[in-house]
Symmetry: C2
Amino acid sequence: MRVRFEPFGVITQVEAGKTLLAAAIAAGVEIEAVCGGRGTCAKCKVIASGELKPLTEEEQKKLTADELQNGYRLACQAVVAGDVEVVVPEESRVSRVSILSEGTVRPFVLHPWVKRHPLQVPEATLEDQTPDLTNVRRAWEAAHHKLTPTLRALRQLPFALRDQQGNLTLIAADDQVIDVHAGDAPPRVLGVAVDIGSTTVVGYLMDLETGQQLAVSSLLNPQTRYGDDVVSRIDFATNDPTGLETLQSELIKALNTIIAETTRMAGVSAQNIYGMCLVGNTTMYHLFLGISPSALARAPYVPAVVDAMRVAAHELGLAIHPDAHVWVLPNIAGWVGADTVGVILSTGMYLQDDVALAIDIGTNGEMALGSRQRLITCSTAAGPAFEGAQLSCGMRAAGGAIDTVKIDGDVHWHAIGDSAPRGICGSGLVDLIAEMLRAGVIDSTGMMQDSETLNQNGQHKLAERIVQEGRQRVFELVRPSEGAAGRTVRVTQRDVRELQLAKGAIRAGIEILMKKLGIGPSDVKYVYLAGAFGNYIKPESALAIGLIPDFPQAQIVPVGNAAGSGAKMALLSVGARNEATEILRNVEYLELSGRPDFQEQFAEAMLF
Amino acid sequence: MRVRFEPFGVITQVEAGKTLLAAAIAAGVEIEAVCGGRGTCAKCKVIASGELKPLTEEEQKKLTADELQNGYRLACQAVVAGDVEVVVPEESRVSRVSILSEGTVRPFVLHPWVKRHPLQVPEATLEDQTPDLTNVRRAWEAAHHKLTPTLRALRQLPFALRDQQGNLTLIAADDQVIDVHAGDAPPRVLGVAVDIGSTTVVGYLMDLETGQQLAVSSLLNPQTRYGDDVVSRIDFATNDPTGLETLQSELIKALNTIIAETTRMAGVSAQNIYGMCLVGNTTMYHLFLGISPSALARAPYVPAVVDAMRVAAHELGLAIHPDAHVWVLPNIAGWVGADTVGVILSTGMYLQDDVALAIDIGTNGEMALGSRQRLITCSTAAGPAFEGAQLSCGMRAAGGAIDTVKIDGDVHWHAIGDSAPRGICGSGLVDLIAEMLRAGVIDSTGMMQDSETLNQNGQHKLAERIVQEGRQRVFELVRPSEGAAGRTVRVTQRDVRELQLAKGAIRAGIEILMKKLGIGPSDVKYVYLAGAFGNYIKPESALAIGLIPDFPQAQIVPVGNAAGSGAKMALLSVGARNEATEILRNVEYLELSGRPDFQEQFAEAMLF
């Protein structure tokens, strides 16, 4: 059957019985599908005409009468029965997310584990028939230690050795020789550091000899097509016969795109990339290596492997030198991954005497509290509210997302890219709720006031924005006259409750960590806010809604993509790479699920 | 262009400009090509009709007027210009060589480096969320040492661990886990030992848990198509742009055929072959690994690598478990290879107090002399005479080859397979020359007597067999009335000279080794004759022609395929595998080329 996607003018052929979402994936048309195609997020609305199977129950629930009348369907539910024409409205398209690529890195010594070694090897004679490898090994071991060449490098050796009278250059990763060049004019020695986020993948192309960053590139993690959150991807990997393979190969493809892009920008060859260092959460680690993450999603939440692993690039199909060493940093536990190790590494909090708290907030809030004496980590299921999902008008931090709100008699907002607002992202929501609290639009239990009460308080402009819809109150942040294409951006009472759940989980985690470490808020000297959310959130708003406690002695430091910075450090410094494993040996992990004190703290922390 | 090969009825399409030999190789038709297609051996005679380029100079030199009249061409010289019909006469077909597969092995303890390890791993709980790998590692390290799984094994782990409540079986090669199975009903643990000869490849399928040999299979080394001897293959690998790749892939294909054949015979799966151990000469070692052997063929005769090497099966395309460990035993020098290490290993001569001499004769004569105190090896270029090549009626030890000769008034002979004689093989030639010497048909300088002299001595029947051809005498061993299809098998004065060169080289090598070691013939207690030639040769004939000195105290022991036995030992015993490297460290190598005393000895040793 033919399916045409407008306004892209893309036509694809699919078998009858496939959903429009499947057709879109096949055609390379990117449609939002936050819930992984289960019909629950209603982000994949499209206007479809032609032969389709009848509306499903989910569609009847999620689509309004207006939408039904205008031919709206959910792409993940609508099944193709013949030729179909589909219009993908703007709000359902995946928009390029603005990605936070840079992070703070503490000073460290450049000492990469991939190195160039120029050698001058004496020529063999009839009196000294020393074999090539033995000959090279002698010249090498005068200066270094053991030498083990890969088979590929060994195959290059006889040629390189004779090309320029024994003058040659070895490229070694740790003690393995992975490339051999004749002469002393060898190529650059490059590496790539990668942060595999659930949502975005960022790659940094580094010159390993100067430590210089040559280029950076990022992509939406293509796995989002198969589920926006980690759990729905584990489901897909577990239940679809080729799920694991698909998720891995999509990720490798994205990395190869980033590699092609960064090497193009820097004007270098990907064949000269000899080292790679990656961080990501534990699920991304498993999916990157093609190891089943199934056991992570059900109690007792056990990962297959947490250790730092080294594999060769060719084992994974990475388009760099085939024998390049690819390191994934170690994970701490099933829900505290190598990205947290990267944060601990780049902030250096495991080396400081002062107590620090690091928080990286996404669907899960991963946090670490402590100092060189003792460091404890935990993870809380914050839910997708901070990433803008599962909210009526939530969206990722992309163009058109409201990211700043000020209430001052009436509402003022700012949208990313200074464009017309399409929805609200995590940091905007925290701002909004903080302001609504301050203005008394919601009370400390999270309940939204009615217009009458607000009018009584003289807040007439705000009162106008309160709408009663059935049994629920709604706050209209952007009304049709103010919005993009006449759209409304609104926050419902339910949205407020979602945020309360999310912030309650994070806050409860922080409280339990402090309790476990036997300290109070005034003992904390640094609060590192990592990741995009942490970077863009206003600290005062985070305090206002009680996402973090008031730390009277603490300096609040947004550290940007600290996980990615950790990957760069481990790429550029053998010491830092080894420290990552050292961190794993010393850090404690606290499992919060099933702890009665967590439940108590959580209930309390949900209040404002 | 269409080329049809009869009597096989094989038709192939080739481009104009290709030789008939190239067409035959493409079509899988095996034609003798001892010189590697250089037009010098004239073994590839075929009768061709159709459109061919004119006769080359080489053809005009090598083909008789009779042959030219009958449409004979040299397949390596005749170039296709249109459709051609080719008849391959029997003498130009590659015949199956009778391969010596078994050898003597000294007793050793079964202690393979590939092993099965059953484990019972405790289940994870919320209180103990130990990652799978850590969990398995703990159970393992209670009994063994370090554990490093391959990526493939790691991918199997989460499934195997949960399939039968933590009851699983690991297959480890040394300290690397290469396979993981659920439960305690795992497959067999198998290995393959291989002797890669220049002429034949033999593979032994072994059960690593019982030490039992399950099957053996052998093939003509398919590289012989590109040159019968090692030097012509090095030439091909050096000068043809895809030569090295072709020689390697042909060898791998042959090994995969042997693997398929032996596993079929034994009714087992090749996926359960987890270890492989190979011996061969230094050139075969290089070609097997795809490492250029070019420097071996020109002074100072330097190999790229001599060390024992371990590679994974998938790196070479071997059709066994992809992560199986494939070991090639070490070489001693460019012209004394891992096959000699195998001989030293399986005879145990490096452990004995008594002095022993081991000789493995092929195109090169590799020999080792000594005891546990000191062991010296060398290699002499014997030339192809002992392998039946470069002689007017020489052939390999295949069906129809005369292998035993007795002179008793007249000549009596035996041909392999009790078939009609087609030529004479190495051991037959040694027999013949010994008998001719005894009967006075040739004198101690190697000169063949004329009929007159023989008649004067009353040896009339022998005198009848002497024919004068131009300036050369010829001895007719088989006359048309006695031979196959009326064929003559004859030995020319030049053939005798070839044999003198060959035996002189071997003998001179032995003499120099004794001199270097400071011993005389009576100090030698064992003479190990290895390989097919050594196994079939009559020791008294070898003594009669002076191939080996008279060792008054020595026991002469044919040890069969001792190189292959060494490969089996190294497969079945980690101790033996390590000893191979130990041998390399202790053995001395003597380069004979360029030694003035070798030239002297050689001149003297050529006499009978």
